[in-house]
Amino acid sequence: MSRKVIEVHQLSKAYQIGEFTTGTLSKDLERWWITRVRGKEDPFLKVGETNQRDKRGDSNVVWSLRDINFSIDQGEAVGIIGKNGAGKSTLLKLLSRVTAPTAGNIKVKGRIASLLEVGTGFHPELTGRENIYLNGAILGMRKREISRKLEEIVDFSGVERYIDTPVKRYSSGMYVRLAFAVAAHLESEILIVDEVLAVGDADFQKKCLGKMGEVSKGEGRTILFVSHNMASVKALCSRAILLTDGQISMNRDTSSVIKSYLNDPRSVPLERDFLRDPAIRRGNGEARFAEILVNDGVEFIDPSKTISIQCTIQVQKVIESLFFTLMLRGRESSEPIGASRMIPVSKENLEAGTIVSFTISLPPGLLRTGMYPAYFWIGKPRKIIGEHYPYDVVDSRFYLNCVSDKDEYELGYNPSDPVGFFTIDTKMRNLNIDQYVIK
């Protein structure tokens, strides 16, 4: 029987919302004077809020986590998934002791190290080497330990040449590499990782995932991994915990948890508010995207099926034509990896107030798994680049988050490097196999 290293019992965390203090001493004193001494109404209470004692008791408290129970064995890699606000980050914060629980307890065997955000405590003036020591110590390593691992860390980060250069001269990629390298070499029995893989280049991310897999399988260390990237969760974790509104709604093997999560209509957190905010938009505004829906707003897309993107456009001023382009960026690097042709939506005048909607579809099996930031363009085309102006551009606000519950091999891909972004649809002809028998 394997040994339990984390046991969480009836864990709850409540946050007080709204103003529980006015924020300054003078106002608090004023409030105290007015309400208690002079017995008048509280001038700092928001209008419309009821002041009944019984009601305020409930309404001012939000349970970010409520009665969570689970345990983790040594050497397990457990993924924690859930939509935004489900309590994932709170759980990690409690585990890494950044904040204290409201009720319940967590029992831990061994040292916990968290990678809530890599590079915490890096000082720009210090050299790479000095920062390794500082960061390592912040994460709980002893100086001796760091010295012993220094070579390995530098090696892993791949910034050996610049190790004695202040990190303020580093590129952001080097910075992240170095920071992750330190964290990955922590000699902690339990490692908590939160979305760190959202940064760094593709190569390095692969290296990190590999390192984490190695850490959990080879060295018997326990990993708790929080990510929106279902592909990495699936690659790394054998078990997953699905959080919904602060409670555990599922705690099983990764595949079935991801499957049920993807089919859950409640997991639709696409940030469509962006489209309502004209202040941060590009283009001249003669026409605007009013709505973009990828596969009817489902967060995760099955790339083996047709992907459809529904766009609604509102014309603000008379325009003489309307063309549409879709471009996709790469999974990790965000480099453009492909674009549609300019699709004519209308070659005739469109009056202000016209509403245009259409659906674009991508063929099944085109993309491989991963998150692809999408770029939507509408405008009036010209042959000369300078005059080729857009009405509206929505860049990297929507993602094609392609997830599959099958792994690469099952999908018919060669799981070894290099991977690429999409499938080259090839047909084989003139196959000829001559069999020889060699004695």
Binding site: Q16, G23, D28, L95, I106, K107, V108, E125, E130
Partner: protein
């Protein structure tokens, strides 16, 4: 039996409520390397960002001394207990600025480190402790300046006397550090809830300096204010410091004893409040 063993098996139990007196000094000791590295960071970053480097450590007290000599010594003509004015002021400034630096820097420790405290756990007390130690380096440099000036006055034949209280100077240093730290910890814990206290700190420290015997000796203080000035633990420290190195100042075991107790109480109170705030300040700041 078996049950007991299992309970003892856990290394760490994270709970909602812990005792007020669970100060986790064990943890602080575990992280002592971090303390050393933070001190090193402070020193290096200070050294690297400035043109003159550590020279700034000298310039500040030197100019303050010159200004004090001019304003309080020459213009106002305040007594210096028969000591050479520059030496008298520099002694006060050196000791006071260590205390003041410790206090003002620790009083913003939660705000300054909100980012890092919100991401990773280490005993929070390490941060203010590192500030106190970092400032010790600065104090050392300034103290050297004081010794140089002292040597100069000896060389030109001014009669000064060391006193046996010199032996107490390590105690004075510890007291100053604990006092600055304790007050700073109380203030930083309160500022997580009340931001406006921060404004009070710089201003308060300045006012407090005039309530301490930095620019005048205790002997020259008006009789009716004397008990108030003497009630300030920093007064005892600075008076003793002057007596030790310059041979003029008030010292009594009673006042030292009183100051030590007062500082001890403030320090313990500071650590308790800090520790209480530390557990959940991330949620409020």
């Amino acid at each position: 039996m078996n049950r007991n063993e299992r309970i003892q098996d856990w290394d760490l139990i994270i709970e909602g409520k812990t005792s007020l007196f669970d100060l986790k000094f064990n943890d602080v000791w575990q992280y002592r390397d971090l303390l050393a590295l933070l001190v090193k960071r402070d020193f290096i970053s200070f050294y690297k960002q400035t043109v003159f480097g550590p020279l700034w450590f000298f310039i500040q007290p030197l100019f303050t001394m010159i200004v004090y000599t001019f304003v309080f010594g020459n213009l106002a003509g305040i007594s210096t207990d028969g000591l050479p004015q520059p030496l008298f002021y520099l002694a006060g400034i050196t000791a006071w600025s260590y205390f003041a630096d410790c206090l003002t820097k620790t009083s913003t420790v939660f705000r300054d480190n909100a980012n890092i405290f919100g991401k990773v756990y280490f005993p929070r007390l390490i941060m203010p402790l590192s500030i106190v130690v970092s400032n010790l380096i600065r104090f050392g440099v300034q103290f050297l300046l004081f010794l140089v000036l002292l040597a100069y006055y000896y060389a030109i034949g001014v009669e000064l006397a060391f006193s046996w209280v010199l032996l107490l100077s390590p105690v004075l240093l510890v007291l100053m550090a604990l006092f600055g730290l304790g007050l700073g910890l109380i203030i930083t814990a309160l500022t997580t809830k009340y931001r406006d206290l921060t404004f009070l700190v710089t201003f308060g420290v300045q006012l407090m300096m005039y309530g301490t015997t930095v620019i005048y000796p205790l002997n020259a203080a008006p009789e009716n204010y004397k008990p108030w000035i003497a009630a300030n633990p920093m007064t005892t420290i600075i008076e003793t410091f002057r007596l030790a190195f310059l041979g003029a100042g008030n010292f009594s075991w009673a006042s030292l004893g009183y100051s030590s107790v007062a500082i001890g109480v403030i320090f313990i109170l500071g650590v308790l409040i800090f520790n209480k705030t530390e557990r959940s300040f991330v949620d409020t700041i």
